[in-house]
């Protein structure tokens, strides 16, 4: 077990010593007696408690010391040291729409599963999976039949891999990153190279075949909810006014009168293409075996200044844009791949910063036990006080009876 903030251990130790010391220093109230002329004693505060070096309340002290130490250990952020390895492998598997053959992807990734210390599945975002990553890939293969898979992002994969490396640094000497991906053109962005530079070593890349551009991509058939009588829309009981609508990357700000509301929910065959500013669907896109149909429930203005705005033209273009996202599935050039792969040795774990901000899984349990001990301490303290009060009362009565 290692501690990410060992200073708290020292503080807790000191606090425990103080607690023990305080239990040896006990205060004693003065003895009480009866005096008929007590009214002539001046009534002003006088400190009468006396300190005595006498150990008392052993169980209470034990509880308090345990409580302080538990809190200290929890704040010191303990972590169980994983089994030490020479090389910790981080496997990043691409599940984006750029993957052409999921079976090939599973086969390629399967070669590295057994030795992988951490498995990352990524598309537009990366996520580290801890249980049966093969199931995720199988699920991807099923979902891949639709066009709902998002675009991939190498940047997201690299960032997630870097987080995993920070966690694994204490259990290995070196870190290896393996990326299984088609490395399509659309998966890189402006941040990919700077993020790659943050990985201080070489990367193993395994390229799988990329998908072909779907045949559905092409001219779209546009239907209007007002005229088509589509089952996707139902007339709104009371039309309202919405100030903006977004379709793709284009936004139109205009006082639209909204007369339709969605009658279905998006599924694998139907996706929301445009949304009103309040989040409600404004246009659906459905893929039929023969063509792509876009049903729009946006009452476009037919006159006025809005027609003259450049934004309106862009919005209009996006409404009639080809179905599906624009896909750039061409492989990344070899020069870019060389940058991704890099040169040199594997990443030395010492060069990876420890992830300090991450909460340790043991800490909440320790704090929970500490809270439980605090409750027990309150109970024991009250019981001690009650017992002491009874003892005082008994001694007072016995002295009075004598």
């Amino acid at each position: 077990m290692i501690f990410l903030a060992p200073a708290f251990l020292a503080v807790a130790g000191l606090a425990a010593l103080v607690v023990i010391g305080l239990h040896f220093v006990s205060t004693r109230d003065p003895e009480s007696d009866v005096l008929p002329t007590v009214r002539f004693v001046p009534d002003h505060p006088v400190r009468a408690t006396r300190a005595a070096a006498r150990f008392q309340d052993g169980w209470l002290m034990l509880l308090r010391v345990l409580l302080v130490l538990l809190v200290g250990v929890a704040l010191a952020r303990p972590q169980f040291r994983p089994p030490h390895r020479t090389i910790a492998r981080v496997l990043a598997v691409d599940l984006s729409r750029a993957v052409g053959n999921p079976t090939e992807l599973a086969d390629s990734a399967g070669k590295y599963f057994s030795d992988a210390t951490a498995v990352i599945l990524f598309d537009a975002a990366g996520r580290e999976v801890t249980r049966r990553p093969g199931d995720s890939i199988a699920a991807f293969a099923t979902a891949r039949r639709s066009f709902a898979a998002p675009r991939g992002s190498l940047s997201a994969a690299l960032i997630t891999a870097r987080r995993a490396a920070a966690r694994l640094r204490d259990g290995a000497d070196s870190l290896e990153l393996v990326i299984v991906s088609p490395f399509a053109e659309e998966e890189r962005d402006a941040a990919t190279i700077p993020i790659r530079a943050l990985w201080p070593g070489r990367i193993t890349t395994v390229r799988v075949s990329s998908a072909a551009v779907p045949s559905s991509a092409g001219p779209v058939k546009v239907e209007w909810a007002d005229s088509s009588g589509s089952v996707l829309w139902a007339r709104r009981p009371r039309p309202d006014t919405v100030t903006a609508v977004r379709a793709g990357d284009a936004v139109m700000v205009h006082p639209f009168v909204r007369r339709w509301q969605a009658a279905v929910e998006a599924d694998s065959a139907t996706r929301v293409y445009a949304r009103w500013v309040d989040g409600e669907p404004a246009a659906f896109e459905r893929m039929s075996p023969t063509q792509c149909i876009r049903t729009i429930a946006i009452p476009l203005p037919t006159s006025g200044d809005a027609l003259l705005r450049p934004g309106f033209q862009r919005f209009l273009s996006s409404l009639v844009a080809p179905c599906g996202h624009p896909m750039a599935l061409a492989p990344l050039p070899s020069s870019f791949m060389e940058i991704i792969r890099g040169i040199g040795p594997l990443v030395a774990t010492g060069s990876v910063e420890r992830q300090d901000a991450r909460a340790t899984p043991v800490a909440p349990w320790l704090l929970g036990v500490a809270a439980l001990l605090a409750l027990v301490e309150i109970t024991v303290r009250r019981r001690h006080a009650t017992r002491r009060r009874f003892a005082d009362e008994r001694s007072r009565r016995s002295s009075e009876a004598a």
């Binding site: 003065p30 009480s32 005096l35 008929p36 002329t37 007590v38 009214r39 004693v41 002295s399």
Partner: protein, 292 residues
């Protein structure tokens, strides 16, 4: 009922003491105390010229025969002083709680005073202010009165905060009232009532009981509690001890001045004094006010 050994010893010690009145008493039954009126007893005192209205039978005929002047032969009249003992049995007398020394001393003083008064031929009565109400023995001059008083006091357990003042108005006839108290109760009202009694011609004695521990409390830090008011707690420490002693001394001096100024015979009695000696101090005018 037989007396306790301490009571018997006290009665033996006060046997020669007679509690004589300090003032001339109004005319009454024949007794040992000088009366305000001059009577016709054989003990000659003086002559007075005959005035119209005097009983001619009191004219000294021999003087008339010798001097041809009519004189009356006067003599001192002696009467009794009905005495009531008012004893405080409040919680402050139950001190120390282990020995009740203060209460025992108060009880012995009452018995001793009763014996001294009874020996002078006076009827003696008793009123005890207890937490359960006043206890009363009527004025009696017969034999066994002192024993009755001793036995009545033996049954009393001091406690609570009973008031003494109402007891001073229970008996109308007494010519002498002796109050045995520590003055830690209804002091002001008691002083007022005592002053009224003294102003009406009665002899009022106040026996102020003080315990040595009250004069010189223990030299240790103590959380002290009032036996009559449990909520009154004060801390007696080195810093407050001397101020307590000074305050208590000043209060006692003020009480002595106030009672004496009201015409009351005030005597302070510390409980470490022999009870018989205390009784002698109280009843003897020359010794009153002298502690030992």
């Amino acid at each position: 009922m037989t007396l306790a050994p301490a009571d018997s010893a006290l009665l033996d010690a006060v046997r020669p003491i007679r509690w004589l009145g300090r003032k001339r008493a109004p005319a009454g039954l024949a007794g040992h105390h000088l009366s305000r009126t001059l009577g016709v007893s054989p003990e000659f005192t003086e002559y007075r010229e005959y005035r119209q209205g005097d009983d001619p039978r009191r004219i000294d005929w021999k003087v008339l025969a010798r001097s041809d002047r009519a004189y009356l032969r006067l003599s001192n009249d002696r009467t009794v002083l009905p005495t009531v003992l008012v004893v405080d049995a409040s919680g402050s007398l139950a001190y120390p709680s282990q020995t009740l020394e203060k209460w025992r001393h108060a009880r012995l003083l009452a018995i001793g005073l009763a014996a001294a008064a009874h020996r002078a031929g006076d009827p003696v009565g008793l009123l005890v202010a207890t937490a359960t109400g006043p206890r009363r023995l009527p004025l009696r001059a017969r034999r066994g009165t002192v024993h009755d008083i001793a036995n009545a006091l033996a049954d009393v357990v001091p406690g609570g905060s009973p008031e003494l003042t109402p007891l001073l108005r229970v008996f109308r006839s007494p010519r002498r009232v002796a109050i045995v108290t520590d003055l830690l109760g209804d002091t002001d009202a008691l002083l007022k009532a005592g002053a009224e009694l003294a102003a009406s011609g009665r002899e009022v004695y106040l026996v102020h009981l003080v315990h040595p521990a009250e004069l010189d409390p223990p030299r240790q830090t103590l959380l002290l509690e009032d036996p009559e008011r449990r909520d009154l707690k004060r801390l007696l420490a080195d810093a407050t001890r001397q101020r307590y002693v000074d305050t208590f001394r000043a209060w006692r001096a003020a009480q002595a001045r106030a009672w004496r100024g009201a015409g009351v015979y005030y005597t302070e009695v510390v409980t470490d004094e022999l009870p018989a000696r205390s009784v002698r101090r109280i009843v003897t005018p020359t010794l009153a006010g002298i502690r030992r």
